[in-house]
Assembly symmetry: C2
Homo-oligomer: 175 residues x 2
Amino acid sequence: MSALTPDMVILGLLHHKPQHGYDLLACFHDPEQLGRVWKLSTSQIYNVLKRLEQHTYIIGRAIESDTSPARIEYHITALGESQLMAWLNHPYPSASVRKIRVEFISRLHIARLLGHPITPIIEAQRRACEDELSRLQTEREHALFGTYSLVTDLVIGQLGAIMAWLPLCEIEEKS
Amino acid sequence: MSALTPDMVILGLLHHKPQHGYDLLACFHDPEQLGRVWKLSTSQIYNVLKRLEQHTYIIGRAIESDTSPARIEYHITALGESQLMAWLNHPYPSASVRKIRVEFISRLHIARLLGHPITPIIEAQRRACEDELSRLQTEREHALFGTYSLVTDLVIGQLGAIMAWLPLCEIEEKS
DNA sequence: TATCCCTATTCCATCATAGAATAGGTTTAT
DNA sequence: ATAAACCTATTCTATGATGGAATAGGGATA
């Protein structure tokens, strides 16, 4: 269970368009884009870029300019692209409430940006939630009180709300 | 916005009964107790104990024994108790989904353990959620599509599920 | 013409984190 | 009988995350 890092999201943004750290920062700060999804500091972005370059998912090249400070523009590699696609089309995503809130929405955001079909992504998420929900409902029958069942009830409710919300993700933007 | 740490929960457990780190560890690992709420490593418990002692919320004393290894038993101080009570009866708790999942349930767990009334805690949480819900619903009207409104819709759904779940918290354990 | 803000990145100190190391006692198995 | 494995109990260590300061030059503002 890896932690919640924006690596693949940044990879997706770089696939859409080669950019440097400051551009990405703006995207992650803008509430209309990913500002409501991630709360990232400056150094986090640059650390991810460094890591992605180490894995050779991206390559950076220095841009010299008279009008603006030196900057490094990163572009995605073929290896990075295959990693990104694997992440986008993950056949069995996590049904963790937190991951849905952050990772699933990020996946949708990137898929829309790249013009990828979003229906399979939503469908995979729906299946994962459905499975987890029925697992929890079975588990629920064995514990009738206490903190244990309270947590289970809360998560069941949360997954129910997510299942009701998932169809809204299909709605296309009107431009 | 402070991070999610089990400091006050440990303070509550020590108020219930003086204990040492290994005892607390067992409680945080037992799924019937706090195992479903927190995922803590060994060192985290001991770090919190160190921090709480630095703040003089607790005092540790070494216990010598022939049959078991040396250990340090911690007990709460008057200052610690006042901090604990302030946390338990927080008049306006966070309406963050994550904090409810972790902090609110912890508060309930500790209140039950100490024989404190839980109704005011639940009621305060309900008010906070209600306020946040109406704030989000207003906000919702201004953005009609995109990632921004998707996030808002998800959180609205989650808070709705929480409001429906809160009454279940009142139900007493049958022993 | 001094001050502030914007672009753009690096640096730094602190804190969190998981798990290994330690160490003595007890149970289990051969 | 004795090695192996496990339980109690805590500390240590290495890695990495984290937020914010530092840097630095250019342009805008007063």
